[in-house]
């Protein structure tokens, strides 16, 4: 899926990335690299339920597909991921092919893209609020440190 016309013009916001990191850390993704795939699948399921309640399942799938397309620009590892096939085996295939760190970084990129896509329709504040309500984020400072470690690993 190709990104929407506004994606190239809208750089991912720092707030969206921070919120995505918090959410991924809250899901346990920052610490447990071996279990990244099931954690990613669980987080997607949580997002589907939580956001689906607000905007409907069909609406969520449309948004998530758009977000995946935009996140792939920075995270090619997400090539195998689709909104309709967001399960553990899909994410495990990503981890096997690109490594757990790249899956983790891809997940953060995907959630940030979801916030961006949603934010372009309803505003970033409300979008972040809705996405973050899928779980209670941990301290941003801790999460940032954790994610920086993950990012280093990815670059290595």
């Amino acid at each position: 899926m190709t990104p929407g016309p506004s994606a190239a013009l809208t750089p991912r916001s720092g707030a969206a990335i921070e919120a995505a990191r918090r959410l991924w850390a809250r899901a346990g993704g920052a610490a447990a690299t071996d279990a990244a795939a099931p954690l990613a699948a669980a987080l997607c399921a949580q997002l589907t339920t939580a956001l689906g309640r607000w905007i409907g399942h069909v609406g969520f799938v449309a948004l998530f597909d758009q977000a995946i397309g935009e996140a792939r620009e920075e995270h090619p590892a997400l090539e195998l991921v689709t909104a309709a096939d967001c399960n553990t085996s899909c994410f495990q295939a990503v981890a096997d092919a690109h490594g757990a760190a790249r899956l983790a970084a891809g997940m953060v990129g995907l959630i940030a893209a979801l916030i961006d896509v949603l934010g372009r329709i309803i505003g970033e504040d409300i979008a972040m609020r809705l996405v973050e309500q899928t779980g209670i984020p941990s301290s941003p400072r801790v999460v940032s440190a954790e994610m920086e470690a993950g990012s280093d690993a990815q670059q290595a």
Binding site: R53, W54, I55, G56, H57, V58, G123, D125, I126, L130
Partner: protein
């Protein structure tokens, strides 16, 4: 039939807890608020403001403990709803997910599974324990099921939903697109309250209206009420009652017009609580008279409200500054409010609301409407049709508050008669002053006459007057002229004896003023008659010499004396 003994008494009846709707004006219309646990319909055509009204009520009543739940079936999609509703001031994004929740059931609704929809609503209500629930839009459910038996299915669905929501102590609002002719739909019998919204389109003007068709247990305000939708959300303007009920003592004192001599012509001024109309052609100084009326009130410590429709407030105040009326200073001091109403889609009820609010906030006793002609132009076309009736209600509502109204109206200069026919407003007013142009010896001059003073004696002579930067100066009477109302009077010296034989016109006026007003100082007399103090002194000296008046410790008063003396 229950025995009399078992009937609930007023003290034993369970009081209805009322929810503040959070919509300005709506509580007044529904009789104080929406009863808690009631099951209500918000119906109307597209674009009437149904969703916004429901959302505003939801945000006003949602709390963390008893949140608000907005359920979308097949109306506006949730994303669009969030996108657009957040533009309103009442929408607090910080409360989303805590006080206010959204639930999208469009997929179940699209499948036409009413049982499934109901089950999901029940599950979500059970989970969140909301205090208020909105379902938008339930009507579309039936359309998906096809026409056969559609209303029956919906009625059954609505009845079950109502039962569940009431059991869970939820106040609910169902939004549905219905047209007025569908009011007999059985679904409406289930509802405790029905709020009907509509849009009236007339030429380029669109006016939104609300009618509370029913609200069980409440003494609602009947009729169609205008509503305005702007950045703050919805505001309802309750229809002005036909017969104001406020019992206000009227006429117990006289208010000065601020124009020397005019008060004397009116028998001492404008009776308090009266509605006065000043009618005249363009350029006759109507606004100056109105400013003087306000300035006189300010001088007496009375606050005022001026509603203007043609000039901007800054321009209006600049004119007042030239007159040294002190209006700008009064605005700054919070003793005068100038309301500029010129949206061209105004309703009379909106205008009244603005004026009434200002009157209450300032404690104003004088209100100027400048002008009735401009007011009519500012109204949406649909309201112009019943302008006179609306104006009647407006004036009645304001004088019912105890204020004294001073309205100006522009009439055609070419008319003969008293120039009052343009708006046929005489039935609206207690007092009427008519202005006109007259040609006297080749000079165009201004004249006025007090046409009507309800329940009060007044001077019936035409008098010339001048308007200048110094204000209004009343001049001589035109009692020696005939045909004034034609605009081209002819001089006809009177051969009939004057009211007070041997007295000049000025002496008669001073005497009449003393007869009506009792003892007063020469300064007061000058103010009431419009005569210069020196002239008053000379006049009083002659009246005393003739035995018409006496002087007591500086005050003068009329002495009883028959015409035959």
């Amino acid at each position: 039939m229950p025995s009399k003994r078992n009937r609930p008494t007023a003290s034993s009846r369970m009081p209805l807890h009322l929810l503040d709707t959070g919509v300005p004006g709506l509580n007044e219309v529904v009789g104080g608020g929406v009863p808690s646990l009631s099951f209500n319909l918000i119906a109307g055509g597209p674009g009437a403001g149904k969703t916004t009204l429901a959302m505003q009520i939801l945000f006003a009543n949602a709390t963390r403990e008893r949140p608000g739940l907005f359920i979308t079936l097949l109306g506006e999609t949730s994303l669009k709803m969030l996108r657009y509703q957040q533009q309103f001031d009442f929408f607090d994004a910080g409360r989303l997910g805590t006080d206010v929740h959204f639930l999208n059931l469009s997929e179940a609704a699209l499948e036409g599974d009413l049982d499934g929809v109901l089950a999901q609503i029940i599950a979500e209500v059970d989970r969140l324990h909301p205090g208020i629930v909105v379902v938008d839009s339930f009507r579309s459910l039936v359309r998906l099921n096809g026409p056969a038996g559609a209303d029956n299915k919906l009625e059954y669905f609505v009845q079950r939903l109502a039962l569940h929501l009431t059991t869970w102590e939820v106040t609910s609002f169902l939004i549905g697109e219905y047209q007025t002719e569908e009011l007999r739909n059985p679904v409406f019998t289930v509802a405790d309250g029905i709020l009907w919204l509509m849009q009236a389109v007339d030429r380029n003007s669109v006016v939104r209206k609300l009618q509370v068709v029913k609200m069980r247990g409440m003494a609602l305000m009947p009729g169609m009420h205008t509503l305005r939708l702007d950045g703050a959300g919805i505001q309802v303007f309750p229809r002005i009652p036909e017969h104001p009920t406020d019992a206000v003592q009227r006429g117990h004192r006289r208010l000065s017009t601020g124009i020397p001599g005019l008060d004397a012509m009116m028998g001492g001024g404008i009776p308090s609580g009266d509605s006065l109309v000043l009618a005249g052609p363009t350029g006759t100084g109507k606004t100056t008279f109105a400013m003087k009326f306000v300035a006189a009130g300010l001088h007496e410590g009375e606050a005022s409200v001026i509603a203007i429709f043609e000039e901007r407030p800054d321009v209006y105040l600049e004119r007042a500054r030239i007159l040294e009326a002190g209006l700008t200073e009064a605005v700054t001091a919070g003793r005068l409010r100038i309301i500029y109403l010129r949206p061209l889609d105004l309703s009379v009820d909106e205008a009244l609301n603005e004026i009434r609010t200002a009157v209450r906030e300032l404690g104003a006793t004088r209100v100027v409407l400048d002008s009735i002609s401009g007011f009519e132009m500012a109204l949406a076309p649909t309201f112009r049709e019943d302008f006179r009736e609306s104006l009647y209600r407006l004036i009645g509502a304001l004088t019912g508050l105890g204020v004294t109204m001073f309205s100006t109206v522009e009439v055609e200069a070419g008319d003969t008669g008293l120039l009052l026919t343009g708006y046929k407003v005489s039935f609206l007013t207690d007092d009427i002053i008519s202005q006109r142009y007259v040609e006297i010896e080749g000079v165009l001059q201004k004249a006025l006459v007090v046409v009507k003073m309800r329940g009060s004696d007044h001077n019936r002579e035409f008098r010339l007057y001048d308007v200048s930067s110094a204000g209004v100066r009343l001049r001589e009477s035109l009692r020696d002229f005939d045909g004034i109302t034609t605009g081209m009077p002819t001089r006809q010296p009177r051969i009939s004896p004057p009211a007070h034989p041997g007295l000049t016109w000025e002496e008669s006026m001073v005497l009449e003023t003393m007869v009506r007003g009792g003892a007063m100082s020469p300064v007061e007399l000058a103010g009431l008659t419009g005569l210069a103090p020196a002239q008053v002194t000379l006049t009083l000296a002659r009246l005393q010499e003739l035995g018409y008046s006496s002087n007591h410790s500086g005050d003068v008063k009329a002495e009883a004396r028959s015409r035959d003396d």
